[in-house]
């Protein structure tokens, strides 16, 4: 699958290719068109989509004033934000105040080049692509902290600390639920993961795969601070959380960064679980598209167009799922939020790693994968582990409410810093 093309668009993957000199011009075109053209466009219209979908859920129309069906709304928002006054509070730390949103936006951008949109269409395919992706997506926690600290406002600092605590708590299940994928694919490079999914079918179609997909989605939603995990910047909580002191385009950056990371995170989900670009039917079999190598850019695009289409359809379904959850589920209380991460998600993901090892032994290691044995063994294991951890979590949560309400006959364990 990893075929070298002389006019590789936008394939810059140089691990085995004979690219000894860097095609600067081609890369700059790719960057300008794809990364700073198409993706921000997609993100802008995700914002529009969210407002339309949320409106539909609440039986109203949503933005339709600006242009037909409100299609120009995102552009109107952008212009409004740019023309607002750039206001930085006197006591704020000017430079860090500016660096914070840039850091969050950059961390969202850096995730995108590694994702394989089609056959060989990953902009970059380093051998350890997946751990690079995890490392980059963990930068946003630092950005949020700096945003809260730099505006020297005690509420925004408190909001930032809570946001970072939540982000950090949900990054562990996110990272642990990706381990089964690496176990099955046998390598960290995203293109190999794509190839393996072509051979063995989507990684979603296996009990540990489903469990991992659910935990990854929950962790992704929390990672992006969306309902039901968006406590830190919830309106009813602490003014506007860490971006209280941001106005005008600086706030616009946060907004753009949030939706770009929604897009990036759903691309991650589709690429590793839903076999980005491959149809669910036929399940397995020969590769969907074969690149003979040496195709021109146009041929490359033409060949991959259906794949990109399928990939984008899956991504939009994933994003729609997030909109749907935002429109329906209530916001979680802080302690439920944290307890859910540490007491339910992390143990479940650890157990899931072993179940995925069992699935590997049944399906992927033997030359002729027998799915029946795989499903037969792992399905009960998954069900039992979910019920077990849920019971454990329930019992620990049940003990707590009593304590909290009755002024804790027993001293609460952790008192505030004196």
């Amino acid at each position: 699958m990893n075929v070298a093309c002389d006019w590789a668009f936008p394939l810059v993957w140089a691990q085995q290719s004979e690219l000894d000199s860097i095609p600067w011009l081609k890369w700059i075109i790719v960057l300008a068109v794809v990364f700073f053209g198409i993706f921000p466009g997609i993100v802008a219209y995700t914002v529009w989509g969210e407002r339309k979908v949320a409106a539909r859920f609440q039986d109203r129309i949503g933005p339709n004033r600006v242009g037909p069906l409100g299609l120009l709304q995102p552009i109107a928002d952008a212009i409004k934000l740019i023309t607002k006054e750039d206001l930085v509070p006197r006591s704020a730390d000017r430079w860090v105040h500016l660096i914070a949103p840039v850091l969050i936006l950059v961390s969202a951008f850096l995730v995108l080049p590694v994702i394989p949109f089609g056959v060989g269409l990953a902009a970059v395919n380093p051998p350890s692509g997946l751990i690079y992706l995890i490392a980059v997506s963990s930068l946003s926690a630092l950005g949020i902290f700096l945003a809260g600290w730099s505006s020297r406002n005690k509420y925004s600092l408190l909001g930032a600390m809570r946001a970072v605590a939540q982000l950090v708590s949900y990054e562990v299940p996110q990272v642990l639920s990706i381990v089964p994928i690496i176990l099955w694919a046998g390598s960290l490079s995203m293109v190999t993961i794509f190839d393996k999914q072509v051979l063995y079918g989507w990684f979603l179609f296996s009990p540990p795969g489903m469990l991992a997909f659910v935990t990854l989605t929950i962790a992704n939603i929390a990672e992006v601070n969306r309902t039901p995990f968006d406590l830190p910047e919830a309106e009813s909580e602490i003014i506007a959380g860490y971006h209280t002191e941001y106005s005008g385009m600086r706030f616009g950056l946060f907004f753009l960064a949030e939706y770009l990371s929604v897009f990036a995170v759903s691309c991650l989900g589709t690429a590793i679980f839903l076999g980005g670009g491959t149809l669910p039917w036929p399940l397995t079999g020969e590769p969907v598209v074969t690149l003979g190598g040496g195709e021109t850019l146009f041929a490359m695009l033409l060949l991959n167009l259906p794949l990109i289409g399928i990939f984008m359809a899956k991504v939009s379904l994933y994003i729609f799922l997030m909109f749907w959850i935002r429109a329906t589920l209530p916001r979680l209380r802080v302690d439920q939020l944290m307890a859910f991460a540490w007491k339910f998600m992390v143990p479940l993901c650890i157990i899931n790693i072993f179940i995925s090892a069992v699935w590997y032994e049944c399906v992927i290691r033997p030359s002729k994968p027998n799915y029946l044995l795989g499903w037969g063994v792992t399905l009960p294991l998954v069900v039992v582990s979910i019920i077990g951890v849920l019971a454990l979590y329930r019992s620990s949560m049940k003990a707590e409410p009593v304590e909290l309400t009755t002024g804790s006959r027993r001293r609460s364990v952790v008192r505030s810093v004196s």
Binding site: D20, S21, V417, S418
Partner: protein, 108 residues
């Protein structure tokens, strides 16, 4: 595409190491000292990986002994920071200051 000579990496690592050491000597706040120690550990990491990359591995050893050493150094540094901040917080609650040289209850 001329290569980078080994000594450049070593001089960079030595410079960071010395800056870290100066930080340890100059700074009073315990957390600043902790940051300087992290710089020194990273300088040693650069040294290890540079020697691994520019040398051919010895037959009996592992092909990536330098990188494995660096991974374990990162684990040790992470554990050290967690314990260090714990101790500093414990001292802070007793002394309301995290400066290293203001602790003089143990004289003699």
């Amino acid at each position: 595409m001329n290569d980078i000579p080994l000594t450049w990496f070593l001089i960079f690592a030595a410079a960071c190491f010395v800056i870290g050491l100066m930080g340890v000597l100059v700074r009073r706040n315990a957390i600043a000292v902790l940051m300087a120690i992290e710089i020194m550990l990273n300088a040693a990491n650069i040294n290890l990986v540079a020697f691994w990359r520019y040398g051919t591995p010895v037959e009996g050893d592992s092909p990536i002994s330098g990188v494995m050493f660096a991974i374990f150094v990162i684990t040790v540094a992470a554990a050290e920071v967690a314990v260090g901040i714990g101790l500093i917080l414990l001292c802070y609650r007793r002394w309301h200051a995290a400066d290293v040289d203001r602790f003089d209850s143990l004289s003699g």
